[in-house]
């Protein structure tokens, strides 16, 4: 993003100003910490896509720093080999692997123990995790054990001139952005929500160097026991983040019943639908439909925002869309600052006309010509 060099941005938060000017003095014991690591999240045999997204981001950081990118894989023997191979295909130079039956399902105790032990032994300078329930559960424990800095839910990662990680995230409830550094401690830890970073291209690459490490625990050492797992029946909800077309509504729609118009247009386009945070707070839509920093981050090919003003916390959740279309009655709404196509109009009147226009456009008569 070029926004980081905005001349009108205030220089620093008053609270951070004094420390930000402090000289960085990395203690001697941290000077050997090198390389970029990505924790690979495996859920019932499948690598969570956020881990590949982070490998793509980690690759850029590692290249800028001139260091290696490592994938950190914890899981049961027989359930991790494919994941390790995939990590190389998505850009890792090497993998650290703890393969132990105790890691078959996520529990905080063995995973935080294993990851902490790897960090202590092999000393990375940057450690990235997905900001999923698992990643947040693990990152908080590991950072506290290591007494290092952790920046949660980053929307942008970069390396500055003196090789420090610059982690940018929304702040003040998503109304501004801030850039955070971890001075004088290593590793520099950060979590990133799924879909915030683009999925990198999968390459045909052979498996490279794999460093295996013991967990050093037996089941009796672990207090928490897993009694069962109830898979979600409704998996449709999870697909909003991965939909190619998303139509969303905001407070500008004026009433809960007007969200039928959002659903109708989404249906006509073969896409999914969502809403902004205030709509959930009003109770017009359920929380799982919320798009933005504290809801879903989306990267669709087409995003239509109807009656959404475009607060920063919403912006960071949709900025990865290929095409952002804004419909708003207020020409000065921030949504027009980052939309690609906009129209100043009342969404409640325009949405049915859009649904109609789409239906006409994709009538069987014309659609076969387009599809052909």
């Amino acid at each position: 993003m070029t926004e980081t060099s905005q001349p009108n941005a205030p220089k620093a938060a008053p609270a951070g100003g004094s420390r930000a000017t402090m000289k960085k003095e990395l203690p001697e014991r941290f000077k050997s910490y090198r390389h970029v690591w990505v924790f690979i999240e495996i859920e019932r045999g499948q690598v969570h896509p956020v881990s590949f997204e982070l490998l793509g981001e980690g690759r850029k950081l590692a290249d800028k720093l001139g260091v290696e990118l490592a994938a950190v894989v914890l899981g049961p023997p027989g359930g991790v080999e494919e994941a390790v191979a995939e990590c190389f295909a998505y850009g890792a130079d090497l993998a650290y692997l703890i393969a132990d039956p105790l890691l078959a399902n996520y529990r905080n105790e063995p995973f935080s123990r294993g990851l902490t032990s790897l960090v202590d032994t092999y000393q990375p300078e940057i450690l990235l995790l997905g900001a999923t329930n698992l990643g947040r559960d693990l990152a908080g424990s590991v950072a506290t054990t290591l007494l290092t800095g952790l920046t949660a839910d980053c929307t942008e990662l970069d390396v500055d001139a003196d090789a420090s990680l610059a982690a940018t995230r929304p702040t003040f409830g998503g109304s501004l952005l801030c850039t955070i550094y971890t001075l004088n401690y290593r590793p520099q830890m950060a979590t990133v929500r799924p879909r915030v970073m683009p999925m990198p291209e999968r390459q045909h690459k052979p498996i490279g160097r794999v460093v295996t490490h013991p967990l050093g625990l037996v089941e009796d050492d672990i207090v928490t026991k897993i009694l069962g797992f109830l898979p979600d029946r409704d998996t449709n909800k999870a697909n909003l983040a991965y939909a190619d077309i998303v139509v969303a509504g905001g407070l500008g729609l004026g009433a809960a019943e007007n969200f039928q118009l959002i659903k109708a247009l989404a249906h006509a386009l073969g896409g999914d639908y969502g809403c902004s945070r205030p709509v959930v707070q009003k109770g017009w839509m359920p929380a799982e439909r919320q798009i933005g920093q504290t809801g879903k981050t989306i990267r669709p090919k087409l995003y239509i925002a109807a009656g959404i003003s475009g607060a920063i916390q919403h912006r960071v959740g949709v900025e990865g869309a290929d095409l952002i279309v804004a419909i708003n009655t207020d020409r000065s709404a921030p949504i027009f600052d980052f939309a690609h196509v906009g129209i100043v109009a009342d969404a409640v009147r325009l949405l049915p006309a859009l649904t109609d226009a789409v239906t006409r456009r994709f009538s069987p008569h014309t659609r076969d010509r387009l599809a052909g």
Partner: protein, 283 residues
């Protein structure tokens, strides 16, 4: 049972405004509330106390005026409230915050009895990190149960608890030992309306106020800015995209406006139009 609930006073985010020229937060006059996610933790704690006996202690770290927020939270029916307030806490990041709160909970344990369960909300609405709960658990050596959607059973005598926890793609059923730290998922319960007696009691209640020293913190370098490994270097508002939005001129009729907008969309994304057509033809 003794149950401790960590809560935070946060600005009502619905009312935060950014100054249009300076891009700074306009804090003046923004009302403060109990972090909404914490209400689920408070309710769950009260239910466990009602079922098993014992007491509920609320604890918060914040400015002196967080006393009012604690008093409001007491009105739901908690037994006591402790406010940790000291200028040495200013500028705490998640690591320094979890240190201060863990120290206070340790002192609460020494004063009012060791807690069986420490609750936090899932995250706050101002920081949104969800990292302080796990940090407190690690520092106090408590077993950690995050994103708990349901407490299935608690057996204080056997020191066992069974919960359901929100994981990716499903619900994890876990059993662990007390004492533990639970971060409560939103929507897992509905906060009660405190009784009139609770409201009167809360109005008269003395919120216990501790400085860092009173909370038993000897090493002030672990608090506030000095105890925070992370540093906020810049706060800023993102500017407009360098390529300005292509604005479609509204037509006299919604139908013509819609056609113009759809034309603009598919001229920008021609491949998408073929994809949609193919998907619809396949139905």
């Amino acid at each position: 049972m003794h149950i401790v609930v960590c809560i935070k006073q946060v600005p009502d985010s619905a009312q935060i405004r950014v100054h249009p020229v300076t891009n700074t937060i306009m804090r003046q006059g923004v009302p403060t509330i109990v972090n909404p996610y914490d209400l689920f933790a408070i309710e769950e704690a009260l239910r466990l106390r009602d079922a098993h006996g014992g007491s509920v202690t609320l604890v918060s770290m914040g400015p002196p005026n967080a006393e009012d927020t604690l008093r409001k939270a007491l009105a739901f029916g908690a037994d006591r409230a402790v406010l940790l307030t000291d200028r040495y806490f200013a500028g705490s990041d998640t690591l320094a915050t979890s240190f201060a709160l863990a120290s206070a909970i340790h002192k609460i344990g020494a004063t009012y009895g060791a807690p069986d369960i420490v609750f936090t909300g899932k995250q706050t609405i101002d920081g949104d990190t969800a990292q302080v709960g796990p940090g407190i658990a690690k520092r106090l050596g408590l077993l950690q149960l995050t994103y708990v959607s349901r407490i299935v059973s608690v057996d204080p005598d056997a020191g066992l608890i069974e919960v359901e926890r929100r994981a990716e793609g499903g619900i994890q059923q876990l059993r662990t030992r007390l004492p533990c730290l639970i971060t409560m998922l939103e929507g897992s319960n509905a906060i009660r309306r405190g009784t009139m007696a609770d409201a009167l009691k809360a109005a008269r209640a003395q919120v216990v106020i501790w400085t860092a020293a009173e909370a038993g913190i000897a090493d002030l370098t672990r608090c506030g800015l000095r105890g925070s490994p992370t540093v906020v270097k810049r706060v800023f508002a993102p500017g407009a995209r360098s390529d300005a939005a292509r604005m479609i001129e509204p037509a006299p009729t919604a139908r013509d406006s819609a056609d113009a907008l759809i034309d603009a969309i598919f001229s920008a994304q021609p491949a998408l139009e073929a994809d949609i057509a193919a998907a619809q033809a396949a139905l």
